[in-house]
Symmetry: C2
Subunit: 450 residues, 2 copies
C-alpha cells in the first residue's frame, strides 16, 4: 500500500494520522500543516487569553508524532487526482510534488469576516488559530494596555471570549445580531445566558448590526458603529460571527461540494473522487436526527471524522455515527448545554414538537451545595420521541454530562418516557432518586403524553 | 374502580401513590406507613448524622400528600387475598380491616443483624430508618460524647457512615469481611476506595469477621472482638452488612417469593396473586443484562418500580425497564461509581470478559482544576459488547453522570467501539474532545478488538 497524505494538521488530520499509524504502523503517513501548530487545541485559545492557561505550549494535544511525518509550514496548492499527486508550497518558498495512494483533506475552516469598512484596521482580529491567539495576546500586551474590548458575535467563541477578556481585566462589550444572544439555544436559554453575561459585567448590545469600524482616540482607539446609531469606543475588536469550510483546494481538484459549501462526503468520509477522503471542519457532517448532511465545525466531530476516514482508508468500514447537535459552553460560573434540535429546527423539519421547562435542583435539596438547574425537554407529541434538551446550571452541577445522557437517548431514538426508565446513578451529593434528566422527562410526559 | 391500598410509605409505596393520583385523581389511594416517616430520604440519613443536613425534617421527599390517604403508625398484619382485605394494627392498639381493589406491597427491607453475642447491647445499632438515625443521633449526643465509632461492613452505608462520623469528629474504625473493602466494585477499585478512607483518617480492618461485642470501659465503652484476635475499643457500633427483603406478610398471604426471598414479580410488578402488586426493596428486580430477576435494594429502583406498579394497577402497561447495576457513592472528596457487571459477575455469567484500565484527566489537562480519573471498561471480546464500567475520580469530575453514559450504552446493548462514536459534549472546562468515557472505550477497543 502506498503513502497516505493528509492535508491539514488540525483535529481531523491528526486524528486520522494517529489512527492509521495505530492500526498499521508500517503505513507511510505524511501530514501537511499550513502553520506551525499541529494538533493544537483551538478550543483552548480563550483560556490562554484569559490567563487561566498561561503557557500556550500547554494547548498542544500532542507534542510529538512518532512514526508520522508532520511537515509544518507546508501548504497544499493543488491536487492532480488522476496522477494522485499534490503540489505543495514549502516553507523555503519552493514547491514539491507529493504522491499519494490515499488523500485525506482536513483543511479546516476560516472565520467569516463581514465585509464592513474598517475590518482591516490594526486592533481588529479574529480568533481561529494559535497564530491568531498570539496576535490577540500581543494586542493585549501593548503599552498602554487596552482596557476595553468589543466582541462582534454571540456564539461559542464570542461568549467564551467575553468571559476570557473579562477575566483578563478588560471591560467587554458584546454586539450580537441575534436577540437574545447565543442563537444555538432556544430564546429563553439565550436570554438566561445574556443575564449571566451582564451579571458578570459584560455589556450586551442585542439585535445590532455592526456597520463600520473607525479609528478612534490615540494611541489605540477604535470606534465600532452599529445599527440604531449606536457607537462603542474600544481598543480591540474581536470578530467571531462563525466560520466557513476551507474547500477551495477540493473544489479546484474537481471534488464535489455539498452542504454550505463543505466537501461532500459519504458516511465513511469518502469524497466524490476515488482515493480522496475529507474530514473535519472542511467536510459535511452527518446529522443523525435530520438524516442528512449539514455543516458543523466542532472539534468533537473532527476527531471522530478523522478516525472514521482513517478506518476507511485502511479498508475497515467504520461509518461516522453522526452528530446529534451536542454542544456545551461555560460562561463564568454557569454551564449551558444543548443536544438535539432546537424548537425552531424541530418545527422546520416537520416534527410535532412540544416543549417542557423545569427548574430542578441538581442534587437532593438537603445536601450542601445544591443549586437550581434549568432544563428544557423537546419531544414529538405524535410519536413520543425525544427531540432535544437544553440545560443551564452551575458549573458544579454536572450539566455537561447530563446533556450527554440526553445525547445517548437521541442516538438511540428513545421516547421521552423511556428515558425516565433508565438506571441512572443516584446518591444525595450528586443527584436525586429521579435524576434531573428524568424529572424533566417525567414532566414532559405528564404534560404532553399522559 | 375500588380503592388502591399500598402497604409501605417508603420510596416505592409513595411513588406508586403519587403516580396513581397523578393519572386518576378520583381513585381512592391509601398508604399504610408503619412508622411516622412517609417518603423519607433514607439515603440522606448519613448526611443528617454528619451534620451536613442539620435539620432532619429536610430529609422528607414530600411533606404533604394531597388527595392521598397516608396513615402513619399503621401496620398491615395479614392479607385475605380472596376477600381482598387487609387486617391492620392501628396506633391506638386496635385493628381495622381495609378492603382493596388493588394492593401494592411496598414493605421494604430490614438490615441484616449478624447473630453475634452482644449485638443487643446499648450502643450497638443499625441505620435503616429515620427512627434508627434519631437513635444514632441520641447516642452521639450522650454525655460524655463518644469520640470513637466502629462500623461493621464496608458497603454503601458503611462507607458513607465512615465519612459522616469522621466529619462529626469521631475516630472511625471500619471492619470489613471483604478484602479489599467495598465489594460492589472490582478489587482494584475497592483498594483505591480503601486508600481514600485511610487517607482521611478511617482505620480499616480488612478480611475480618466480627465475633462478639462486649461491654467495655464505663460509661459507654464497648469492645468489638474480631477474627485474628483483634479487638477494638469503641463507644458506638454501627452494623451495616446488608439488608433482606421484608416479605413475611406476602408469604403468609400465599404470595410466591423469588430471588433471595424477595416477592416474585413480573415486569409489570404483578405478584403471583391476582390483585396484588409489589415494588421496591421487598420485591425482585429485573436485571437487564442478566435477563433475570435479582434482589437489589436501591432507592432508584424503588421509585421506578412503584411508578411501574401504579401504571399496571391502572391498566396501563409500563414494564419496569430493569437495573443495569448503576451505583455511586461519595467518600470524602472522591466519587466512585459503577454500572453493569463486575469482572467476576461477567465471568460467572458466561461472558468472555476483557478489562481495560485507564487513568485519564477529567478535562483538558491545561484547564485549571483538571484532576486524574481512574476508569475501567469491561467488554465481551467475542461480541465486542460493553459489559460494565467503573470510575473513581474527584467530586468535581462529573463521575456520576459519566457512569450514566455507560449505563445508557448498557441499556441499549451497545458495543464498546460504538460508545466512542457518540456525540458527547466537550468544552475545555468540562471534558476533552474524546470524553474520558470515550477515551476508555477507545483504549479497550485498541487492546482487545483492533
Amino acid at each position: 500500500m502506498g503513502p497516505v497524505l493528509i492535508v491539514g494538521g488540525g483535529d481531523a488530520g491528526i486524528a486520522a494520522a494517529l489512527r492509521i499509524h495505530e492500526i498499521d504502523p508500517h503505513r507511510a503517513v505524511t501530514v501537511l500543516v499550513a502553520d506551525d501548530y499541529p494538533s493544537w487545541s483551538i478550543c483552548g485559545l480563550p483560556y490562554f487569553l484569559s490567563g487561566e492557561t498561561p503557557d500556550w505550549h500547554d494547548l498542544a494535544h500532542h507534542k510529538t508524532f512518532p512514526g508520522i511525518d508532520v511537515l509544518c509550514g507546508h501548504r497544499a496548492e493543488s491536487i492532480d487526482t488522476a496522477a494522485r499527486q499534490v503540489t505543495v508550497a514549502t516553507p523555503g518558498g519552493g514547491h514539491v510534488s507529493l504522491a499519494y495512494d490515499a488523500l485525506i483533506l482536513a483543511t479546516g475552516s476560516s472565520p467569516v469576516m463581514p465585509d464592513i469598512p474598517g475590518k482591516d484596521l490594526a486592533g481588529v482580529c479574529a480568533l481561529h488559530t494559535m497564530g491568531d491567539a498570539l496576535q490577540v495576546d500581543r494586542l493585549l500586551r501593548r503599552d498602554p494596555a487596552p482596557r476595553t474590548a468589543t466582541i462582534v458575535g454571540s456564539g461559542y467563541i464570542g461568549v467564551e471570549m467575553a468571559e476570557a477578556l473579562t477575566y483578563r481585566g478588560l471591560r467587554v462589550t458584546a454586539i450580537s445580531r441575534s436577540d437574545p444572544a447565543f442563537p444555538t439555544v432556544d430564546p429563553p436559554f439565550g436570554e438566561a445566558l445574556g443575564t449571566e453575561l451582564r451579571r458578570n459585567g459584560v455589556e450586551l448590545l442585542l439585535g445590532a448590526n455592526v456597520e463600520a469600524i473607525e479609528p478612534g482616540e490615540a494611541p489605540h482607539g477604535l470606534v465600532v458603529r452599529a445599527s440604531g446609531g449606536v457607537s462603542v469606543a474600544t481598543e480591540l475588536v474581536l470578530i467571531a460571527v462563525g466560520v466557513r469550510p476551507n474547500a477551495a483546494l477540493a473544489k479546484s481538484a474537481g471534488v464535489q461540494l455539498g452542504a454550505r459549501g463543505a466537501v461532500q462526503v459519504s458516511r465513511t468520509m469518502q469524497t466524490s473522487v476515488p482515493g480522496v477522503w475529507a474530514a473535519g471542519d472542511c467536510a459535511e457532517t452527518w446529522h443523525h436526527l435530520l438524516q442528512r448532511n449539514v455543516h458543523i465545525a466542532l472539534g468533537t466531530v473532527s476527531h471522530k471524522q478523522g478516525r472514521s476516514a482513517a478506518e476507511s482508508v485502511l479498508g475497515r468500514e467504520r461509518p461516522f455515527a453522526g452528530t446529534v447537535g451536542t454542544q456545551v459552553v461555560k460562561v463564568f460560573d454557569r454551564i449551558i448545554a444543548r443536544t438535539g434540535l432546537l424548537q425552531r429546527e424541530a418545527r422546520d423539519n416537520g416534527f410535532d414538537v412540544r416543549t417542557t421547562d423545569l427548574e430542578v435542583s441538581d442534587r437532593n435539596t438537603y445536601y450542601p451545595g445544591a443549586t437550581p438547574m434549568r432544563m428544557r425537554v423537546l419531544g414529538d407529541r405524535t410519536t413520543g420521541r425525544l427531540l432535544g434538551a437544553q440545560i443551564l446550571g452551575h458549573s458544579e452541577a454536572e450539566v455537561a454530562k447530563r446533556i450527554d445522557i440526553f445525547a445517548m437517548a437521541l442516538h438511540h431514538g428513545m421516547s421521552v418516557a423511556a428515558l425516565a426508565d433508565m438506571d441512572l446513578s443516584y446518591a444525595p451529593p450528586v443527584a436525586s432518586p429521579w435524576d434531573p434528566v428524568q424529572a424533566a422527562a417525567l414532566a414532559w410526559q405528564h404534560q404532553h403524553a399522559d
